[in-house]
């Protein structure tokens, strides 16, 4: 009977997993090397996006979306979530065709959350858009929340159910000892029968010490936030053939992303904005919203995230060790999935099985790629 779990990583995945385990009576201790939400979980774009996910993720994202719409009953907080929809805008006939193919694919898989809209409806929904666009792919139930507030809500709820957060606790070694995991940290040793690796960009190290190295690459996608503006746009905007994630937050600021990468020194945990690439990001925004020319950027940053070569996360049982599980590698699109990932891991750990198809996320897919 698995009554006790150690979870490495106090971000969204770790907190969501701990919460779901605690709801099932498992005692959880989270080992967090800095403070909860210090990295990817606290500084991402906050997108609640089902739109344009890899087919493998679709069953998960749809369930996660259902959970987000009712997040208050899970977390006692609505995380300031909003659901004005999300669009991928087509600027040419080529773009349109790509999007139509996507819509057809999703339908063929039995889902209806993505649909095409034409020019008229597009400009009804987004009057601020530059006039050259020809249509879009939309998910009407998509939206956004505030990531650090969501994480804080997960943390509070988990703590209220007895989850212990050990902060500034860096894991030094992990060993198997008489049917238990023994985790050595600078703040003391922890033991439990269950070990969960939710260590984000540092999950590769944990996987290595479990004997299953993975080709995880830390990366730092850049974000910008502007000054507050009067409200002028509802849905979140992406583009078919440009790197863009664009939304106006509840407080009027514009949050702009698009996965252009900063220069990252992973050892020092320091990022440096790449101005040439961020200039590209700015040009993308100007192409779709030229009226924003004089809007001032207040802050730029780049959170350290874990990227997998196939852009799919690792979710599921360890392939090399008993009673160990993983949830990492969300490649800049993990926020929305966090509630369901916790549920899946808890089902696996407590019930031994989950109803969600997890083969595409198995860590074993990397076993043949082990490098020395």
């Amino acid at each position: 009977m698995k009554t006790d779990a150690i979870i490495i990583g106090g971000g969204l995945m770790g907190s969501s997993t701990a919460l779901q385990l605690a709801m099932r009576g498992v005692r959880c201790r989270i080992l967090e090397k800095e403070s909860p939400g210090r990295h990817a979980s606290g500084v991402n774009a906050g997108g609640l996006r089902q739109l344009n996910r890899h087919p493998a993720e679709i069953p998960l994202t749809v369930e996660a979306a259902r959970m987000w719409r009712d997040i208050e009953s899970l977390l006692d907080s609505d995380c300031d979530a909003r659901f004005p929809g999300q669009l991928r805008v087509a600027e040419s006939a080529q773009d349109l065709e790509l999007l139509e193919q996507r819509a057809a694919l999703v339908r063929s898989l039995g889902y209806d959350h993505e649909e095409m809209i034409g020019r008229d409806e597009l400009y009804q929904l987004v009057p601020a858009l530059a006039p050259h666009c020809v249509g879009a792919l939309i998910c009407r139930q998509d939206g956004y929340a505030r990531p650090f507030h969501a994480l804080t809500a997960f943390r509070h709820k988990a703590s209220s159910l007895g989850v212990e957060y050990h902060v500034k606790t860096i894991v030094d070694a992990i060993e198997r000892e008489r049917g238990n995991w023994r985790v050595t940290t600078r703040k003391g040793d922890f033991q439990a029968p269950v070990l969960v690796n939710c260590a984000g960009a540092w999950a590769g190290r944990i996987a290595t010490s479990l004997g299953e190295p993975v080709p995880l690459k830390p990366g730092a996608p850049m974000m910008m936030v502007t000054e507050r503006l009067p409200h002028f746009i509802d849905p979140v905007i992406g583009a078919a053939s440009r790197k863009l994630s664009f939304k106006q937050m509840q407080n009027g600021t514009l949050l702009i992303g698009g996965a252009h990468m900063a220069d990252l020194d992973f050892q020092q945990q320091s990022t440096q904005i790449s101005w040439p690439k961020l200039a590209l990001s700015a040009r993308t925004v100007m192409a779709l919203f030229p009226q924003l020319n004089d809007v001032r950027i207040v802050r730029t940053w780049a959170g350290i995230e874990a990227f997998m070569p196939d852009n799919l996360p690792v979710i599921g049982r360890s392939s090399s060790a008993e009673d160990a599980w993983h949830a990492f590698g969300f490649s800049a699109h993990g926020f929305q999935l966090s509630p369901v990932v916790g549920k899946i891991l808890a089902e696996l750990i407590v019930d031994g099985a989950t109803s969600f198809p997890l083969e595409p996320f198995a860590i074993s897919r990397f076993n043949q790629n082990q490098t020395g």
Binding site: S35, W275, A279, R296, T300
Partner: protein, 464 residues
């Protein structure tokens, strides 16, 4: 503007001007970037255009700036006014807007001479129109000859308060009161730091002379005040404070406050230089060696931006740093550097001897810094109160950055310049940590406003 300079100096106050002159006179291609339209920094603001009468009212120290600016103008250093620096990296890439045009340049050596700004100390009502920094009053006076019309109250701590009161009197402004937070115990605490040199007496007698002049002119002078508050609905109407055990009120529409100055470390933080908390000066400072070299190769700091020392010290520090730059660039040998810097070193040492005493004398009471009223607005931009910050800490957000993430404190346009210290003080107080262990806000570019259009205009040939 070129893409590259051997030396880029940021800031045109005494440190920047002196350094630029030395470097350029030694043949080094030097660019001085200034966010103001004319040189002089804050202390010598508008010195090239101030009418004689106004310059006289401001006093003899102000005129010293004329020589500095003149020497700079006669040097071969390139001067770029109306230039805002919005990023500085450890490898000395500088993002800037020059007359609204964005550009990224690089330098072999960077000297930060950003000076200081007034320490923001939150108290209830300090955001009301009518409440301004004393330095703001001085800027209006120096730059435009604009002064309070219906009397003014000055409050806080520090030599600038008396100086401004004295300058106002000479200009015919009605100074109602000067309310000093210095208590008698400050004098006692400061005494051990009083150096025995002759130079010191100049500062002390100057201060006493100001006080005498003010008293004779009927100005109320109160020491040891506390619990300062500003009241009014749309703008300042009255102030209140505690003195000798009782509460007092004063009707005024103009309150100028001053709680000392602190180094402007935004750029040195952005570049990633190490900083430390200086307990006596009650501020963060960059770690610097004797030549002004920071913890990052090729980035130096001179003047108040490296630690408060005043205008004269800034001049010397600017020259000393310039000699180090010349040595770094291979223009002069180490011996020549030591020789050339010797005089400035001597004068700077003499100037600095008074500092520990002044710092102890004018130090702000811990209670004012650490424990603002719950309803005092700490983050002016996002209107976050001390009470909200304390709640966030109580909920487990135990450092400045976590507080920022939760409350938006420090996420407004000023990027935490006005609230960084106050937040760190509240966190230190509530988590029982000393300030030297407290965290600073992580500083991210752009440090000054950069529009999407300006950013979009950079690197037009960058491939998608």
């Amino acid at each position: 503007m070129n893409d590259h300079y051997r030396l880029v100096i940021i800031g045109a106050g005494p440190a920047g001007l002196a350094a630029a002159t030395v470097a350029a006179d030694h043949g080094v291609e030097t660019a001085l970037l200034d966010e103001q339209p004319a040189p002089g920094g804050q202390i010598f603001r508008a010195i090239e255009s101030a009418p004689d009468k106004r310059a006289r009212q401001l006093g003899p120290e102000y005129r010293r700036g004329e020589k500095l600016v003149s020497a700079f103008r006669h040097s071969s250093a390139r001067y770029y006014p109306d230039t805002q620096v919005w990023s500085l990296s450890a490898d000395r890439e500088i993002g800037l807007n020059h007359r609204q045009q964005a550009q990224v340049i690089s330098a072999d050596q960077v000297l930060l001479a950003n000076g200081a700004f007034e320490r923001p100390v939150p108290f209830p009502g300090w955001t009301l129109p009518g409440v301004m920094n004393a330095g703001a009053g001085q800027i209006l006076f120096k730059g435009s000859g604009i002064v309070p019309a219906d009397g003014v109250v000055l409050a806080g701590s520090g030599p600038l308060l008396l100086l401004l009161a004295w300058q106002y009197l000479r200009a015919g402004v009605k100074v109602r009161a000067v309310l000093d937070t210095i208590s008698r115990s400050n004098y006692l605490k400061a005494l051990p730091w009083l150096p025995k040199a002759l130079m010191v007496h100049h500062h002390i007698t100057q201060g006493l002379r100001y006080q005498q002049t003010l008293r004779l002119a009927g100005v109320e002078l109160h020491n040891g005040i506390s619990d300062l508050q500003a009241h009014g609905s749309e703008s300042l109407e009255t102030i209140s404070y505690r003195h000798k055990g009782s509460k007092h009120r004063l009707k005024t529409d103009s309150l100028l406050i001053h709680f000392g100055v602190i180094p402007n470390i935004h750029l040195s933080q952005a570049a990633g230089c190490n900083h430390y908390w200086h307990a006596r000066q009650q501020c963060w400072r960059p770690e610097l060696d004797l030549w002004g070299s920071s913890s990052i190769d090729g980035i130096l700091v001179a003047g108040d931006g490296g630690g408060i020392g005043g205008a004269r010290t800034a001049e010397h520090a600017g020259r000393i740093a310039a000699f180090q730059v010349l040595h770094n660039l291979g223009v002069i040998s180490q011996r020549e550097r030591d020789r050339e810097a010797a005089r400035d070193r001597k004068w700077m040492k003499a100037d600095l001897r008074i500092r520990p005493f002044l710092e102890k004398l004018f130090s702000i009471p811990d209670s004012m810094l650490r424990i603002p009223h719950d309803n005092a607005i700490v983050c002016r931009c996002e209107e976050v109160t001390a009470g909200e910050i304390r709640s966030a800490i109580a909920e487990g957000h135990g450092d400045s950055n976590q507080v920022k993430f939760l409350t938006r404190c420090g996420m407004g346009p000023c990027q935490g310049r006005q609230c960084a210290q106050a937040v760190a003080q509240i966190v230190a107080d509530k988590t029982s940590l000393p300030m030297k262990k407290s965290t600073q806000f992580r500083v991210r570019p752009p440090l000054k406003p950069l529009t999407l259009g300006q950013l979009a205009s950079l690197y037009p040939d960058e491939p998608e």
